[in-house]
Each structure stands twice: as structure tokens, then as C-alpha cells.
């Protein structure tokens, strides 16, 4: 009966009800779609790190924008330490198409390393690279789609031309957007003296931290980072992004709260007699208070449901565009985000309904019944 009273009362003025719910839905959709970037980023980081084979990275400069400042010979120095498999990381961002239709990442495949490439990829067509001296390339599915390349076509990288022998993709999206060529040829084509990083895959993964410590002491002028440290760093960057995105969506949430407050205040004003009658017939102040609060929370939950639907549509659109431009989807509505937004919606309901609910029970019954 409590729910019947709460639910039926909010549908009594349908236009007001729909507009209030719509306002809340837009705010929740804004929150969900903005926060979904962070959730998507987290998911992508986790996926990327799971696929990422090297456990330790030695580089110079900023982690998020490393510059190729590691001498090529550095790989040999690390190898001599015998701490594990060593992989030379060479990566170049290259506009693709003319006029440019997007960016591809040219990544070297290190045949001298046991792991050869930084992540596992799936071969969609053709075959793998087999020779460090052959001018052959693998291209990501997205690059192939953008440029209309297929097996047997030639792709230009720096001064070199490579015959495409395979088309690849990976869950992280790195390989999907990549042009993969032998690292020796890539260094030669660009006359590189330095590479981006030297990566180490320890023989015993459990010893990663102690090996990283040894490398830090041995190469004090370089940044030495384990994948765990990288994960923590990126996670904290995503968390900062979350705060910024939440602050942006808080404006819409605040407006929604004020709107709900205004609507509930008007509704309570109009229905004062009704609360008086319910109290005259035996309803307690607490019951009336709970009833008004439940109505506000019910409105906010309905707004949340619609907001989630709208948010999912927005996220879908973002992901379609992102996949077309970047080759991977980066917005995700997780259960965690869904529950967080539900809590926010309930919070809006409580904030918007609390004072109107207090107003509803403040008057004496006679005063309340007199208002019609």
C-alpha cells in the first residue's frame, strides 16, 4: 500500500512527473557517460597490462610521453646482466592516409628477443613475420580498414617499403592500430641512435621487483618501472580524471537536485490537505514524512533507470565513433558505475525530498486540512 500510494501520487500530474524524470535522466546520463571513460580506461589498462608481456620498462622522460632517449646499445648492457629476456621497444606515431585519416603506431618486432612483440595478437589474415631481414609488415585491422590495404600491398614506413603479409588485431587495441615491422629495419629506416625503451621479461616473474631494484641501481639515470608500478600510476591518473569528470557532471546533478526539490516543494504545497486527511485518519507524521521521501526517491530511481538507458545509448555512440577513429572502444558502463550512479540518484532523491517531507508534517492536521 505504501508503494501504491507513493507510485500513484507521482503519476497524478503526468507532465510534471515526466519532465522531472527527464531532468534527472539527463543528469544521470551525463554522469554515466562521462564516468564511463574512466571505467573504460581502467578496463583497457587492465586488458593491456594482461596482454603486455614485458614486466620491466627502462626509459627516459615522462611515463606518459616517453622520448627515444635510450641508446640502442643499452639493450646489450641489460642482456649482459642476465636478468631475463630483453626486448627493444621502438614505437613511432605515424599519420595514415593522405590527407591523414588517422594515426597508426609503427612498432618494431624484435627477433632477438624471445617474446618478439609486446603483446599477444590474433592473426586475422595471412601469416606472421618470419625473418628479421625481410621487408615484410603486419598491419592492424583498423589500419587496413582505414587505408583499404590488403595482403600483398606495400606500406611505406620512413625510408622503407614493406609488403603486408598479415592483418592482426588484439583486445588492447594496440595491435589493431599498429604497423609491425622488424625492429632492426625500423631503426635503419629512421637512422635511430636511440630507442624508446628497453623492456625486460624476467625468467622468474616473482623476482620482478628485485630485478627492477637491481636495474634501478645499475642505471640510475634512467626510469625503471615494473608493470605493477605502471598500473598504479595509470590508475591514479584515471582516478584524477574521474574526479574531474565527476565535478563536471556534478553541475547537472546539482541542477537536477534543485529541480526535484522545487517540484517536491510544489507537490507538497498542493497536497497538504491530503497529508492532513491521512493523519486525521490515523497516519503518523513519520508515515507522511516517509511517504513524501519515498516519492522523491522513486522519482529519482525512475530518472536513474531512464538515465542509464540514455547513458548506454551515448556510450554506444561514443564507442562506435571511437572504434572508427581509434580502433578500440573506450567507454564502458560497469556494474560498479551503475551502482554508483544509483547511489547518486538515491542521494538526489533524499536531498530533493527531505525538506519538502519535513514541510509536509510540520503543519497541524487542522491547518493542513484547511488548505485546499
Amino acid at each position: 500500500m505504501f508503494l501504491t500510494l507513493a507510485a500513484k501520487s507521482i503519476t497524478y500530474k503526468p507532465l510534471r512527473f515526466i519532465l522531472t524524470i527527464l531532468g534527472l535522466a539527463v543528469a544521470i546520463a551525463g554522469l554515466v557517460s562521462l564516468m564511463s571513460f574512466g571505467e573504460g580506461a581502467r578496463k583497457a589498462i587492465r586488458r593491456g597490462l594482461e596482454a603486455y608481456k614485458p614486466r620491466i620498462l627502462i626509459y627516459r622522460g615522462d611515463f606518459f610521453m616517453p622520448t627515444p632517449l635510450v641508446p640502442i646499445e643499452m639493450a646489450d648492457s641489460v642482456k649482459k646482466l642476465g636478468v631475463g629476456d630483453v626486448y627493444r621497444l621502438v614505437r613511432i606515431a605515424k599519420p595514415i592516409g593522405f590527407p591523414p585519416k588517422g594515426m597508426a603506431i609503427v612498432i618494431g618486432m624484435d627477433f632477438a628477443s624471445r617474446i618478439r612483440f609486446i603483446e599477444d595478437y590474433t592473426l586475422l589474415e595471412g601469416r606472421d613475420l618470419t625473418d628479421s631481414l625481410k621487408r615484410e609488415a603486419l598491419i592492424g585491422e583498423k589500419v587496413a580498414q582505414t587505408l583499404g590495404y590488403s595482403i600483398g600491398d606495400t606500406v611505406e614506413v620512413g625510408k622503407g617499403k614493406y609488403v603486408i603479409v598479415g592483418i592482426i588485431k588484439s583486445p588492447s587495441g594496440i595491435s589493431t592500430n599498429a604497423i609491425v615491422v622488424p625492429v632492426n629495419l625500423l631503426i635503419r629506416d629512421y637512422d635511430f641512435r636511440n630507442i624508446l625503451a628497453v623492456s625486460v621479461v624476467p625468467e622468474n616473474i616473482e623476482k620482478t621487483d628485485s630485478i627492477a631494484q637491481v636495474l634501478k641501481e645499475r642505471f640510475p639515470d634512467y626510469q625503471v618501472q615494473t608493470t605493477q608500478e605502471m598500473a598504479r600510476l595509470t590508475e591514479s591518473m584515471v582516478a584524477i580524471g574521474d574526479i574531474i569528470r565527476f565535478a563536471l557532471s556534478a553541475i547537472a546533478l546539482f541542477v537536477a537536485t534543485v529541480s526535484l526539490f522545487a517540484i517536491m516543494a510544489i507537490t507538497v504545497q498542493e497536497r497538504t490537505w491530503e497529508f492532513g486527511v491521512l493523519r486525521a485518519l490515523g497516519g503518523t507524521r513519520r508515515l507522511i514524512f516517509n511517504l513524501v521521501l519515498a516519492q522523491a526517491i522513486l522519482i529519482s530511481i525512475l530518472g536513474w533507470v531512464l538515465g542509464i538507458v540514455l547513458g548506454l545509448i551515448i556510450i554506444k555512440i561514443i564507442n562506435v565513433v571511437a572504434y572508427q577513429k581509434l580502433g578500440f572502444e573506450f567507454a564502458t558502463l560497469t556494474l560498479r558505475l551503475g551502482l554508483f550512479s544509483l547511489l547518486i540518484a538515491i542521494g538526489i532523491g533524499i536531498a530533493g525530498g527531505f525538506f519538502p517531507a519535513l514541510t509536509a508534517v510540520r503543519k497541524s492536521i487542522r491547518e493542513a486540512i484547511g488548505r485546499i
Binding site: 500513484k8 486527511v277 491521512l278 486525521a280 497516519g283 507524521r285 497541524s364 487542522r366 486540512i369
Partner: protein, 216 residues
């Protein structure tokens, strides 16, 4: 048995108006009481005090040996739900609930499980067979629904504040017939009315003047 003891109620802060002035009276079960008097004589205030909707400045109301104003407000509300029924002049049916839900809401307020069968029976007893929203009924029908709402939980005392104030003479008579019938079932019925003719159909007429009982 409902007993008023020296009930007094004053309104206003700067200019004080004494609405009920030292009223003492005992209401017996199985009888219909009509409180009559001119406008402003304190009929409604007395009814609100007797039903513990309004708090007196002094005096009290006993139901059996229970002092209604010795209770806390919530306890008094629960007491009203268990023992009292109330019918208003303007019907005051909840507009977004249908007739059946309007009646059944009393079970909820009383804290009981909603008995839809009893709610329907109460409506049928008062000649309401079709379930619709309140605005789809005539005034007379709406007042009968309000009476069904008041009696559905089998209260000991039924209060009615000008129940025929918005009805034509035919419906007014019908409402008083129903109130007398309820009294004949052993309930106490107390009606505030300005209609002397209808009041005459009750067992007892209490005349109120300037907040005091003019004659029993």
C-alpha cells in the same frame, strides 16, 4: 464510551477567540449525536478535539479509561486509526486512488494487512458497486465512499463534520440514514451539522453556542 472533560480551545495570538469553552460531555455507544449551532459556534473544533485531531488548551478526552491527550502524538494517531473514523464535509478522497484503494488505505494507516474483500464489502454496503476514480462519482457517491473509508476498519466512534454540507437534500437524507444505521450497530456516531431537520433524526442534539453547550 467517549467522555469530554472541561475541553477548552482558543485560537489566535493577539486577538484570542475561544472556540470551545469548558465542554464536558459523555457520549454513549449505540447512539447518534448531532452537534448543532450557528457558524463559528465551535462545532468543528469540538469534533476535532473529541477525535483527538486537535489538542485542547485545557481539559481532556477519555475513551474508556484512556486519556487521549496523555498519549504522544504518534500514539494518538495510531489510536485514531484503531478506534475512530472520520467523515469530512469535502469528502477528501485521495484523487489518484480509486474508490477501493481510498477505502483500503485505512487498513494501511491502522497497520493491518490490506483486506481488499472487506473494503469492497464496505463500498457495496453503501451502494458503490463500480470502482472508479473519485472525480467520476457524484457528490453523494463520493460522500458514501468517504463513509465506507471511515467504517471499513470497524471503528468504535464515527465522527462526521458537516457530512451533508455539499449534498442535495436526497443525498443528505441518505447519509443520515447510513449514520443512524451505523449507530444502531452499537457504534458512537457524532455529527456536526447546521441542518436542524437532519439533526433531529439523531438520538441526541447538542446545541453549541459560543463554544459552550447551550442545552443537552
Amino acid at each position: 464510551m467517549l467522555r469530554a472533560e472541561n475541553l477548552t480551545k482558543t485560537y489566535g495570538t493577539k486577538v484570542k477567540t475561544v472556540a470551545v469553552d469548558g465542554v464536558s460531555y459523555t457520549f454513549e455507544p449505540g447512539r447518534c449525536y448531532a452537534i448543532v449551532g450557528p457558524s463559528g459556534s465551535g462545532k468543528t473544533t469540538l469534533l476535532y478535539l473529541l477525535s483527538a485531531i486537535e489538542t485542547p488548551d485545557s481539559g481532556t478526552v477519555y475513551f474508556g479509561d484512556m486519556d487521549l491527550f496523555a498519549m504522544g502524538e504518534d500514539e494518538r494517531a495510531r489510536f485514531r486509526a484503531r478506534h475512530f473514523g472520520f467523515v469530512f464535509q469535502h469528502f477528501y478522497l485521495i484523487p489518484y486512488l480509486n474508490a477501493l484503494e481510498n477505502v483500503a488505505v485505512r487498513f494501511y494507516l491502522k497497520g493491518d494487512k490490506v483486506d481488499w474483500g472487506k473494503a469492497r464489502q464496505a463500498l457495496e454496503r453503501l451502494g458503490i458497486d463500480e470502482i472508479k476514480k473519485p472525480y467520476e462519482y457524484s457528490g453523494g457517491q463520493q460522500q458514501r465512499i468517504a463513509i465506507a473509508r471511515a467504517i471499513v476498519t470497524d471503528p468504535d466512534v464515527l465522527f462526521a463534520d458537516e457530512p451533508t454540507g455539499n449534498l442535495d437534500s436526497k443525498n443528505s437524507r441518505m447519509v443520515f440514514d447510513i449514520l443512524r444505521e451505523i449507530a444502531s450497530e452499537g457504534k458512537t456516531v457524532i455529527v456536526a451539522t447546521h441542518d436542524i431537520e437532519l439533526a433531529g433524526t439523531c438520538d441526541t442534539i447538542i446545541r453549541l453556542k459560543d463554544g459552550k453547550i447551550a442545552s443537552p
